[in-house]
Amino acid sequence: MTKALEGIRVVDLTVWFQGPVAAQHLADFGADVIKVERPKGGDQGRGVRSIKALPIGDWNQYFLVINRNKKSMAIDLKKPEGQEIMYRLIEKADVFLSNMGLAWLEARNLSYDKLKAINPRLVYATNTGYGRFGGVDKPAFDMTVQAITGAMARLGEPGQPPIYLGMGSGDAYGGIMSALGIMLALYQRNRTGEGQYLDASLYGAQLFLAAPYLQSFLAGNAKSALQHSRKMVENPLWNVYPTADKWIYLCAENTDDAFARLCRALGAAELAEDSRFQTVDGRRAQSEALVAALDSHLEVKPHGDWLEAMQAQGLASSPINNLADVAKDEQAWQNAYFTKAYCEEVKREVDVRGLPVTLSKTPGEVATLGPQLGQDTEILMMDLLEYEWDEIEAFKAKGAIP
């Protein structure tokens, strides 16, 4: 079947998470993504051995999943001969993507000006930590960037530590932002013949993770920057509640009708008649009392009973699942949000994250997991870059390629 990005070649000079996952989205839809890595060790992500202090297991899912559907070339870009190979690759490329620092790229003669001169149609994309402007060039990792956006400080119960949105959550967001930026620039390039420089920074992306709350703050609502307790909410019918086993999320509008249905679902006639909770404003003003009352009702039975009762009353609610529940969630498998892929490293099929975006006529796929370091160097040198074998030997002798 045709692929949406067939014929688009991407030079992927990225490490760790944000950059690789951006290129993964393009590779999933059929772009020819060539990952360029240093000969010694390659992408640092290859070295991940544990996650949450747990051994990563017999295959490195950190690296192999976000680098799936890619090829790998090992090139020493510190050497002028390595740069020469890179330039020939750039002549044949549509996109260059890197999350190395701008000074790092400059030092290896890979600045935008340099590459644009070689290929004016090139879309040149970077993922800086804090943006191209403003002079901050320190290393950027997900959590430290999240920390300064305000996204963390508004989460959690008052007095509790700020909350990290999950390992790599902001990187994943910067990655899809970057992929979108590249697609926009490619669309334009196809129309005008001209490439351009774009940057999707980790910081810029992560400001959007908190966008609704930031925008509210900008409009003068100082409280949107602060932690809020679940014990005192604007609408007690839209809240998390503990049951005898799992927590549940109840999502109902604060209307008299929804409240009446909730009381029926709970079999709580006395709540339905409680004078404090008779009106929209009453339920809002007395939210602390109402949340406490709902807590004590819901605590006595397991979540399955309550969800059934709520569903019977037409109230939207969900169990708050853990990762073990999600791993076997039928909905995720049926929509290919999870899929199986063959892993060369362990010679068996493994479970991987699938595709969060579906294109009906040109669906993406997971054809291969991440490449071995430099597995395609020689073949690409010959077939794509059209070097003769003696030239390749000469590059090897100079240490430009292993």
Binding site: I148, M167, Y203, A316, L323, P356, V357
Partner: protein
């Protein structure tokens, strides 16, 4: 200057924050985004926050910027005719309506593509176009609850945490899918459907934890919250309170590189033989080091630590409240406090 999507006409049939913002991203880059507002029965206003008179409706300005709006009544002949004409001329339709609602107005993909086979039809749902839950409402909280992350984001004993990040992921994913399909259409002339869901987007936001669990298949540290005093690496993913109560966070997974500088800043001897290798810091004496950090970070206020991190160019920071992060980032020339673009 030309804009990337200046030849693209987008019909915006959205009512939720996430999808409306998706269309706004297309508008930001030059797409002519026309919002469809129907004058009949359909509960268009249901999810919109009614602004208090005379105040700035900041949410609408965030998610509907750069758009045009057309109001019509699809129940009348004239309105229906106009709708068909718009559909015929559009390059993209973006929606978050339920399947049945769309079908009732002949705005489902089958009907629309009969009029305009080249259209890119982007739809976001709650849980995806297939499976037992395909018709559940598109509410980000419900999708987030199904993603497995809410129980483990907070500290042990605390309630589950809803972050809202999944909805933001969804906005970008739908826009990405639509522009990818546009590129395919440039090459082949072929239109198609693009699907995303809040569930998929929430899962992608949690990708590292979910993928690790899929691969490892067990582990209490994936199922129950990890105390901040029990993090895997005292120098990465960790949180410590400073003297004035502001929180310090460190992300220096490569501890060999950063240990000498950090130890010195904290008044710890870098050669201390309890902590002088990565394995000692992250395995053997991990808890001891966490407690030492806990004590030392409390000797100075947040501002002191921020200065230290800046001077040493460390990947570490003091957690901003929104107010402080804004003052750090606002360019002097900015005229309005509206939302900029994440790209430059």
């Amino acid at each position: 200057m030309s804009n990337a999507l200046e030849d693209v006409i987008v019909l915006d049939l959205t009512r939720d924050f996430s999808t409306s913002l998706s269309a706004a991203f297309l508008a930001d880059f030059g797409g002519r985004v026309i919002r469809l507002e129907f004058l009949t029965a359909v509960d268009q206003a249901d999810h919109q926050l009614a602004p208090t008179k005379g105040t700035w409706d900041f949410e609408a300005d965030l998610i509907h910027r750069n758009k045009q709006s057309v109001a019509l009544d699809p129940a009348t002949d004239k309105g229906r005719e106009l709708l068909v004409e718009l559909t015929a001329k559009a390059d993209v339709l973006v929606t978050d309506w339920m399947m049945a609602e769309l079908a009732a107005l002949s705005l489902d993909y089958a009907s629309v593509s009969r009029i305009n086979p080249e259209i890119i039809y982007g739809r976001s749902s709650g849980f995806g176009p297939k499976g037992p839950d395909k018709d559940l409402p598109a509410i980000d909280e419900l999708a987030s609850a199904r993603t497995g992350m809410m129980p483990i984001l907070g500290q042990p004993g605390e309630p589950p945490v809803y972050t809202g990040a999944g909805a933001m992921h969804n906005s970008v994913m739908l826009a990405f899918g639509v522009v990818t399909a546009l590129i395919h259409r440039q090459a082949t002339g072929e239109g198609q459907e693009v699907d995303t869901s809040l569930f998929a987007a929430n899962m992608y936001g949690a990708s590292l934890d979910i993928q690790a669990f899929l691969a490892i298949g067990e582990g209490d540290r994936f199922i129950h919250p990890i105390s901040r005093l029990d993090v895997s690496n005292p120098m990465s993913g960790s949180l410590y309170p400073s003297k004035d109560g502001r929180w310090v966070t460190l992300t220096m997974p490569d501890t060999d590189r950063w240990w000498p500088g950090l130890a010195q800043a904290l008044g710890i001897d870098p050669e201390d033989d309890r902590f002088n290798t990565h394995d000692k810091r992250c395995e053997e004496n991990r808890l001891e080091l966490i407690h030492l950090f806990e004590e030392r970070f409390q000797t100075q206020p947040g501002s002191h630590w921020r200065q230290v991190f800046d001077e040493k160019q460390m990947s570490a920071d003091v957690i901003g409240r929104i107010a402080t992060s804004w003052s750090w980032t606002i360019p002097a020339s900015a005229r309005s406090r509206a939302w900029g673009s994440p790209f430059s």
